[in-house]
């Protein structure tokens, strides 16, 4: 998946809490007057798509994760928790679970550190800030598949572009096998994702920074606050909603990672770079073990759902705080 299923709202949603208070009696009167009994007709078409694509298949997915279904119609038996037991015993899937967390955490930490630093630097009087903003954001709109191939080439062993850059800065003996070394591959793929999405966190931080008045920063600096103190006491509190949204977006993107792995390594070498997403694809569609694939997907779903729950609460809180 290139972009996350979960993304920020235009505004933090205080509306749910506010709605009963903000004159629902007016609304109801208004509704009664104009025949809003038919409002369910507005909802129906969307609901049909949603039920068919999301609700029914998800329930089916949960159901089949307890079976040994191999894809042939009506040819399955209940196997209880077998799929899950295997999932936590098989070194490949155990490694994939660890990798998924590693992808999510690495990309989140670095996308946000780099994105925030760049945003802070561009939220200044430098003349090239608009051009630079466009350049840093550009990878976000490129196809993940294209970015993955491009980096696969840059990461080539023996004289790949990145290795050559290492040589150029004096590390003349270095020749890491970026995508072929099991100890390195997860970090290399994470680097691709970080390059791709740093611009995304940057624009959200830049939007958040627009709420930070320049005068306040200047007042603080006249009071003798250094850049770090200015950031911590003036910028950080005002940036809290942007930080929440960015961290959650990066985390969920990281947990769902598929394209960059599938294109560069296909989960290799020796199945050491799989995420849960790529493992679902391989197990279900290449090996035809649909029951096991569904079980892996369910584990991923639980992880993402727990996170999404915290995101929703975080959004409500950061919205309610102001």
């Amino acid at each position: 998946m290139t972009s996350p299923t979960i993304a920020p709202a235009t505004e933090p949603p205080p509306a749910t809490a506010k709605r009963p208070a903000s004159g629902s009696s007016t609304l109801r009167r208004n509704a009664a007057r104009t025949g809003s009994r038919y409002l369910w007709l507005f909802i129906l078409p969307a609901a049909v798509f949603y039920v068919f694509v999301v609700l029914i298949p998800s329930f089916q997915g949960v159901f089949f994760s307890f079976t040994d279904w191999n894809g042939l119609a009506n040819d399955w038996t209940f196997v209880g928790l077998d799929n899950f037991v295997r999932l936590f015993e098989d070194p490949v899937s155990v490694k994939a679970i660890g990798n998924t967390f590693l992808y999510a955490i690495l990309s989140t930490v670095f996308e946000n550190i780099f994105g925030l630093l760049i945003a802070l630097a561009l939220h200044s009087r430098i003349k090239s800030r608009n051009v630079l903003r466009v350049l840093f954001f550009m990878p976000v709109v490129l196809l993940s598949v294209v970015i993955a191939y491009l980096w696969q080439y840059l990461f080539q062993v023996n004289n790949g572009a990145i290795t050559q850059l290492l040589h150029a800065i004096g590390l003349s003996d270095a020749n890491p096998n970026w995508l072929g070394d099991p100890n390195l591959v997860v970090f290399s793929i994470s680097a691709i994702v970080i390059w791709q999405f740093t611009g995304y966190t940057m624009v959200i931080y830049l939007a958040g920074l627009q709420g930070v008045p320049q005068e306040q920063l200047e007042a603080a600096s006249i009071d003798g606050a250094g850049p770090i103190a200015r950031f911590w006491y003036v910028v950080r509190p005002l940036l809290a909603p942007a930080i929440t949204v960015n961290i959650m977006l990066s985390l969920i993107r990281g947990f769902m990672i598929f394209d960059q792995i599938w294109v560069t390594t296909g989960g290799g070498p020796a199945d050491t770079s799989h995420s849960l997403s790529t493992l679902v694809y391989r197990t279900a569609f290449q090996f035809g073990e649909l029951g096991r694939g569904a079980a892996i997907a369910l584990v991923l779903a639980v992880i993402v759902a727990v996170l999404g729950f915290f995101q929703y609460r975080g959004l409500l809180r950061s919205g309610g705080a102001r």
Binding site: T2, T5, P8, A9, T10, P13, A15, K18, R28, N30, A31, T34, S36, L41, F42, I43, P45, A47, F49, Y50, V53, V54, I56, P57, Q60, A121, L122, I126, S128, L132, R133, L135, V140, V141, L143, V146, Y149, L150, W151, Y153, A161, L165, W195, V203, I204, L206, A207, Q214, E218, V245, M256, F258, W262, L276, F285, A294, A297, L300, A301, A305
Partner: protein, 273 residues
């Protein structure tokens, strides 16, 4: 107060250097795509005898033209459906006061928490049962269903900030519910509709997993899938591969540079302080 001090100057210099380093992959992409296939010099060295041959070859061999048509069709239809169905549904959800309206809203929002992978396998079998594999129909249906929760989230939050007075005025003029929606509410939704189009459009255009599943081996490839197949057949011929990569991103890059302000705003509108 517009002081441009030596500190600002230093910062500017540092940022330009960082941006140049950041752009190295893009430089390599362009640099290699104009290189003759026999030229084996370093990818970082500027190409000595640039050629445009690769683009012609890549274009004819990769089927990217047809893929762009397919991708455009899928994107336009899915996003249009999302805007129409999403705004209608959000209006219903935001304005309905019946007992079912709040549970219905949360039922849609659950979709934000359920990753696509969970329903991936059963959905594939369901579409296979309907005999729709290899066509673009499942993709459109999937994108609409999959992106609805997010679309509804954007629309309903926005709608709840529009005072109901506008609509009351219209209803006094005798407009029915649908006419009120079409003439009063939908135009008011324009800013958020922009965000809905941008975010969903890019998602659909860039998606790789769904076409990989539903369109592999068919003639109806999308752009990411066409790139994937083409590169798998030509892995060693990098200049040719890079020409194809570059061609495949040109439509979005053009749109990006033309609409960059709106586009970046669309992405950033998530948090306005």
């Amino acid at each position: 107060m517009n002081r441009y001090t030596w500190r600002t100057g230093t910062l500017e210099g540092v940022m330009i250097v960082i941006a140049l380093i950041f752009m190295i992959p893009v430089y390599v992409l362009i640099n290699l795509s104009v290189r003759q296939q026999s030229d084996l010099s370093s990818p970082l060295a500027p190409t000595a005898n640039p050629t445009f041959e690769n683009f012609g070859l890549a274009w004819t061999q990769s089927g990217l033209g047809q893929a762009m048509v397919n991708s455009a069709l899928i994107t336009v239809v899915s996003v249009t459906l999302l805007v129409v169905l999403g705004s209608l549904c959000a209006y219903g959800l935001a304005r309905a006061t019946a007992r079912w309206s709040a549970p219905a809203f949360y039922l849609f929002m659950i979709g934000l928490l359920v990753p696509f992978q969970l329903g991936l396998v059963p959905l594939y079998r369901n579409f296979a049962g309907l005999g729709l594999l290899g066509t673009v129909v499942p993709l459109i249906i999937i994108y609409v269903g999959l992106r609805l929760p997010f679309t509804l989230f954007l629309y309903t939050t926005f709608l709840r900030q529009i005072p109901a007075e506008y609509e009351e005025a219209a209803s006094i003029d005798g407009a029915g519910t649908f006419a009120r929606f079409r003439r009063v509410v939908f135009p008011l939704l324009r800013p958020i509709t922009g965000t809905v189009i941008i975010l969903n459009g890019l998602f659909v255009w860039n998606d790789f997993l769904t076409p990989l599943l539903y369109l592999s081996g068919s003639v109806n490839r999308t752009v990411p899938l066409a790139v994937y197949s083409f590169v798998n057949e030509n892995t060693t011929v990098w200049p040719l591969v890079f020409a194809a990569l570059l061609i495949s991103v040109i439509p979005v890059l053009l749109a990006f540079f033309v609409f960059q302000k709106t586009l970046i705003q669309g992405f950033a509108s998530g948090v306005k302080g």
